[in-house]
């Protein structure tokens, strides 16, 4: 299980995470928003790796 956190200050709203993992991420006011704080979806990790500003923080739970 992963714990998902988004640093909204860093997020530039490029939507890469939503494209890679729509189950967990959505756009809210032009910034990424985690629909679920805790998930077992592997794509959440991929999204974090793809984030250009490293605004997504994933930790194992």
């Amino acid at each position: 299980m992963y714990k998902v956190k988004i640093d909204k200050e860093k997020c530039i709203g490029c939507e890469a995470c939503v494209a890679l993992c729509p189950e967990v991420f959505e756009m809210k006011d032009n910034k990424a928003n985690a629909k679920k704080q805790i998930t077992d979806k592997k794509c959440a990790k991929e999204a974090a790796d793809s984030c250009p500003t490293q605004a997504i923080i994933i930790s194992n739970k």
């Binding site: 530039i12 709203g13 490029c14 939507e15 890469a16 494209a19 890679l20 756009m27 032009n30 991929e46 790796d49 793809s50 984030c51 250009p52």
Partner: protein, 225 residues
């Protein structure tokens, strides 16, 4: 074994190497080809005389990039027959949008409904991969194409087909969203009259006018204090 080989390959062929953590980036030959010889690129000079049915402009000011897409549409077949683009973006943005334009233009064009289904993942697959950290660059061309299709829908009076993401529809007759109003205010339309000249919002659908006025006030406050 296969994985080891790939790592060895990256060892010798890495295209970008970070000084700090010696992280290596690898671009496929397809990416390089599209970067050095972009397909369907529209130069600034030709853009003025290019007769497009839809134009889409997106960009992230934080990234400093911008992407513009032009499409020509065959109305009877509901098909995009030509897609052109231009960008101030990075190598990956250039390569992925070049590939996207090739995907849309090949076999005589693509049905609009199919073009709307293209995902950044499909582009990355056709490129043979992109460095993970550069994946977001392929989102840009995709977004600009959607914006161009929306623009075509608006111009050809197919408001009900417009897909509006991350913005709110204000006038259902003209398809004007809060984002359109924000852009118009930024371009200097600071009164209802000027906004209406530009966007025709609320000209026949008068119900939305109070909301439009409220948005003009809000964005004026936001950007010009």
């Amino acid at each position: 074994m296969k994985k080891m080989k790939k790592e060895n390959e990256m060892e010798t062929h890495s295209d970008v190497k970070a000084k700090v953590d010696s992280q290596k980036w690898f671009y496929t030959d397809i990416v390089k080809d599209h970067f050095f010889n972009p397909k369907n690129f529209l130069s600034e000079k030709k853009a003025n005389s290019y007769k497009a049915d839809g134009v889409g402009l997106v960009g992230s000011p934080a990234c400093g990039d911008m992407m513009k897409v032009w499409i020509k549409v065959n109305k009877e077949q509901d098909k995009i027959v030509a897609m052109k683009w231009s960008t101030f973006g990075c190598a990956s943005a250039i390569a992925s949008t070049s590939m996207l334009s090739m995907m849309v233009n090949e076999n005589g064009g693509m049905k609009i409904d199919d073009a709307l289904k293209i995902k950044p993942q499909d582009i990355v697959k056709r490129l043979g991969d992109l460095p993970t950290r550069k994946f977001h660059c392929s989102v840009l061309g995709d977004k600009a194409l959607r914006a161009a299709i929306n623009d075509y829908f608006r111009k050809s009076n197919q408001i009900n087909r417009m897909i509006i993401e991350g913005s709110r529809l204000i006038d259902k007759e003209t398809g004007v969203t809060d984002k359109d109003i924000e852009e118009a205010v930024l371009e200097g339309a600071d009164t209802l009259e000027k906004i209406q000249q530009k966007l025709k919002v609320g000209v026949s659908n008068k119900v939305c006018i109070p909301e439009v006025e409220q948005l003009i006030r809000f964005y004026k406050e936001k950007y010009f204090g």
